[in-house]
């Protein structure tokens, strides 16, 4: 429910600074996903919001009120941990009701609440089991139910699905998305898995090296990455990067590299604001298509080395010049391994980055 704002948040461990001034505003009822590789500072940020880590500098505001000096218990939030953090000596019902019992709520109210949230997460028949007698997925549900029972406006998730196996993770991800529609809360979700980020988030915040790289809706980040890191981090299989130089060829701007010379669309060329220089050309595997008849200025000649069959789609690992390029296409496309084939690139699928600063152009 409440609005959360991080202002110039800094975290230092001794002399090592791990967060360099995080500014972030999370609107009411927004599902924000902090995503990044390990060590990027996403968990630290979440734990500072939770009050489990001290704030070295900066401030956290909830509805305009600074909270960084408050104990976790006074911040009115609920949290789901990566390892579930259940109380092993309490059964499911007592795990769920722990916070309510500490608040000395009436017994009838507690029982009703436990039944309600157990129903939401589908745990009703396990209420009297201890966590040791539950499977990983069920433990995850208990953790979720415990957080739900608290009725707090802020919901924090610290990599809640990463201890589950792949199949269960997909299932829980879908359930989370459904639960997210049922409960109106302000949720902050930390993950290193870009698929979780893309599927769950209203807003994705990509972090790297203690800085926010970019934030926005999943679509914004996917279509218009602010820099090479974001472009490479979101999307699976990841974006291809090729070194290229900008060259004006007969009035059209081309990105020229080893074995290719791709014409840039006029609108893109104009927006670029430069007509020469070293760039990195980024192309998502799904923006390449097998097309033997494509013109030179919109195509790559790639030598197909490996074909990874995934089902409806196949991923081709190809070689051009000295670089490796992956292509994602429908499995029925007739491809022969070892041959050099022509792949057309969709003009809107061309991303350019400054080779030195890695910022998007």
């Amino acid at each position: 429910m409440p609005e959360i704002r991080l202002e110039n948040l800094v975290k230092r461990y001794g002399n090592v600074q791990v967060l360099h001034g995080i500014d972030l505003a999370m609107a009411e009822n927004e599902f924000t996903v902090l995503v990044g590789p390990s060590g990027c500072g996403k968990s630290t940020t979440l734990r500072m919001v939770a009050g489990l880590e001290n704030v070295s500098e900066g401030e956290i505001y909830v509805d305009g009120t600074p909270i960084s000096h408050l104990d976790p218990k006074d911040r009115g939030l609920a949290m789901v941990f990566q390892d579930y953090a259940l109380y092993p000596h309490m059964d499911v019902a007592r795990n769920i009701s722990f916070a309510l019992r500490l608040q000395k709520r009436p017994k009838a109210e507690i029982e009703a609440k436990v039944r309600e949230v157990a129903d939401i997460v589908g745990l009703t028949e396990f209420l009297h089991r201890k966590p040791g007698a539950l499977s990983g997925g069920q433990r995850q549900r208990v953790a979720m139910a415990r957080a739900l029972a608290k009725d707090s406006g802020i919901f924090l998730f610290d990599e809640p699905l990463s201890n589950l196996d792949a199949k269960l993770r997909g299932q829980m991800r879908a359930e989370l998305a459904i639960m997210r529609q049922r409960v109106q809360k302000n949720m902050i979700y930390v993950t290193h898995d870009q698929i979780e980020a893309m599927t769950l988030a209203d807003r994705i915040v990509v972090m790297h090296g203690g800085y926010i790289q970019q934030q926005g809706t999943p679509e914004e980040l996917f279509k218009r990455p602010a820099n090479k890191f974001v472009a490479g981090f979101l999307g699976s299989p990841p974006m291809n990067f090729l070194d290229a130089d900008l060259q004006d060829q007969g009035g059209t701007l081309h990105a020229v590299g080893q074995g290719f010379s791709i014409a840039l669309p006029a609108s893109k060329a104009q927006a670029l604001g430069r007509t020469a220089g070293a760039v990195t050309l980024g192309i998502r595997p799904s923006d390449l298509n097998f097309d033997p008849g494509a013109p030179d200025a919109a195509a790559f000649d790639l030598k197909v080395q490996v074909s990874e069959y995934i089902g409806a789609q196949s991923v081709l690992v190809c070689q051009t010049g000295g670089a490796q390029v992956t292509v994602e296409l429908k499995s029925e496309t007739p491809i022969a391994l070892g041959e050099t084939l022509r792949f057309a690139v969709r003009p809107e699928g061309l991303h350019l980055f400054d080779r030195a600063t890695e910022a998007a152009l």
Binding site: A50, L52, K73, D83, L86, Y87, H89, F98, A133
Partner: protein, 303 residues
């Protein structure tokens, strides 16, 4: 066929030397003691010369007021020291389970008493308790307070204090180890769920430490029943029989009263008491294992 049997026997062959040593070092003296306890046996006799008297030693002891008093002193001593040591040791562990500068030095200092030889501990405390030149009475005197007759009127209490001083560190390090192996995230979850420091201790820390604490208390209890040197040095069981714990009475019966049979019977009584405690301890651990196994089975049945 032959090799298969040889293979099956191999583990027992490897165990044989240890088993032989066990038999000589443990079973033989034990059997000797049990055998001796059925005899009217004077130290000047060999055990073969001593007269067989059946259960006479056990029955005499059962009705002997001195033995009963000694047993009572032992039970009082053991229960008081174990309860006090558990409370102080666990309390200290809860207080010191944090990252303070110099904590490792502090922890080492805390466990020093445990490393001192019991005889030295006894001597040290005897001097500190000394009626005129001891630290305690001199301090009381300088504060204008009346002296306390530590090893006289309050001998049992004084002995208990010395034992608490020596053995609390044992509980402390085990409790601290248990605390530090608790799941950190469960404690963090409790903080977020709104538990105060005290509620975290009562609802999360103590219950989770319980298995370790139970075993620690039983170990300490078994040890407390066998304590000898410290008390021997401090009071020699006196004044009267007020601090004469069983181990001390056994040694006196054998050396002063020269009744080896009775001393052996007394040792057997103590052995039985300790056996009950040990069996209790095994039962506790077995119970915990059985519970864990049952929980694991339940998960398997589900999937």
């Amino acid at each position: 066929m032959y090799t298969a049997r040889a293979n099956r026997l191999t583990p027992y062959m490897f165990m044989a030397p240890a088993a032989v040593i066990m038999a000589i070092a443990l079973l033989y003296p034990l059997g000797y003691m049990v055998w001796g306890s059925f005899r009217d046996w004077n130290p000047s006799q060999t055990i073969g010369e001593a007269e067989f008297v059946g259960l006479k030693n056990y029955i005499t002891l059962f009705y002997d007021p001195a033995f009963r008093e000694s047993l009572g002193v032992t039970l009082t001593f053991a229960s008081v020291v174990v309860v006090a040591e558990m409370v102080i040791g666990v309390g200290l562990a809860l207080l010191l389970d944090r990252n303070i500068r110099g904590m490792s030095v502090l922890r080492t200092l805390f466990i020093l008493p445990m490393m001192i030889a019991p005889v030295v501990v006894g001597l040290m405390w005897r001097y500190m308790y000394h009626p005129t030149v001891g630290t305690f009475n001199r301090t009381l005197e300088s504060l204008g307070l009346p002296k306390v007759d530590w090893l006289g009127d309050h001998a049992l209490m004084s002995v208990i204090i010395a034992d608490i001083w020596q053995w609390t560190p044992f509980i402390f390090i085990l409790a601290l180890a248990a605390l530090q192996s608790l799941p950190r995230s469960a404690l963090e979850a409790a903080r977020i769920d709104g538990a105060t420091a005290w509620q975290q201790i009562v609802h999360i820390k103590i219950p989770l430490m319980m298995p370790v604490l139970i075993v620690t208390a039983l170990l300490r209890l078994i040890d407390a029943f066998k304590v000898l040197e410290v008390i021997l040095v401090m009071t020699e069981g006196g004044p009267g029989l007020s601090t004469e714990i069983l181990a001390l009475r056994i040694s006196r019966t054998a050396t002063e009263f020269r009744e080896l049979g009775v001393a052996a019977a007394m040792s057997n009584y103590l052995l039985m008491l300790l056996l009950i405690l040990t069996v209790g301890m095994f039962a506790v651990t077995k119970l915990q294992e059985a519970r864990a196994a049952r929980l694991a089975r339940q998960v398997q049945e589900d999937t």
